[in-house]
Symmetry: C2
Subunit: 190 residues, 2 copies
């Protein structure tokens, strides 16, 4: 998606260690006008696939997921990263490693909000090693629901997550795919 690639090229900051900072428009400050265009693109890509639910993971996926849900006219659900006193006891869970934070965490969705008849589009801001996405796919499948596909804002195509998830048979659509990046050389898209 040209609009997103241009924005990444303009405002993204490549840090050492494979970190791309896009928090001026994507995951701290949120440009909802851009989100709306991304949501429309996800709708264009997955229109006619019977999507009736959007699933994402807190926190930075939520905004994009909400605009996407709005485009599809369906609800969104976000997986939580820790058990809270407000969450139902009956949950689907998966353990995921975090690229950004290091370490592991459990993600969970209440069994009330994923059902066998659901056709789920998974939305997230980044795809790198694919740990979060694999965890979200597990939640959907544990519910007996269908993973229609994934809609990712930025895929680090030089990391193995996208290839791994696609080769498992899940459709993955990334709006910007980064082939390589470095603080010195900048960003090259696929």
């Amino acid at each position: 998606m040209r609009l997103l690639e241009e924005r990444i090229a303009k405002d993204g900051i490549v840090k050492a260690g494979g970190v791309l900072r896009v928090d001026s428009f994507l995951n701290h400050q949120m440009d909802v006008t851009l989100y709306e265009e991304m949501a429309k693109e996800f709708y264009r890509l997955y229109e006619g696939c019977g999507v009736n639910k959007i699933l994402t993971i807190e926190a930075s996926g939520i905004g994009i997921a909400c605009l996407t849900a709005w485009a599809f006219g369906c609800p969104a659900v976000f997986a939580k990263k820790s058990r809270t006193s407000n969450l139902a006891d009956d949950v689907y869970t998966a353990r995921v490693k975090s690229f950004t934070h290091g370490g592991e965490c459990d993600i969970m969705v209440s069994k009330d909000y994923l059902h066998p008849e659901d056709r789920v589009l998974i939305i997230d801001d980044f795809l790198a090693n694919g740990e979060a996405l694999a965890g979200l796919i597990k939640l959907v499948r544990d519910a007996g629901a269908t993973v229609v596909g994934a809609g990712i804002a930025i895929e680090k195509a030089f990391q193995p997550g996208g290839e791994r998830i696609r080769s498992s048979g899940v459709r993955v659509e990334s709006l910007a795919r980064i082939k390589s990046m470095s603080p010195e050389g900048g960003i090259e898209f696929c």
Copy 2:
């Protein structure tokens, strides 16, 4: 806001200890059609106040904040609850107690995204003791920016947060104000 009150009455679950579960439509599964109506109501209430930025706190405020930002045509920013490797070093911080989780946490916003010329509308899903809202107000004021007001989905008016924040001179608009609630007696709105 009648639509929200009716939804709370229909789908909200009152638990012991002053907990209201609304995760079927507000803060786990998200009814973005309802969010859109709430966003339009916040726009109606704060139209003409020069709002140029929406501020919220992760995670459950983000969806409502994004739709509200969309209604105002401005960006949204969410305060983070823990320092991540992706966040700039230069941050405004506040310490807040959590009603839901117990304990304290630090919330923070990068100094890049709050400026003295900003006129900020703070959005959150709940107002109870007002700790989170007070922390968000502090972040805005530390930046030298203006707090135009707060837009809250559900205010527990039987807890002291709303009164405390209003008496400090900040405009607070809550779309649903709960006068009392109990597992036996149900929910009474103000």
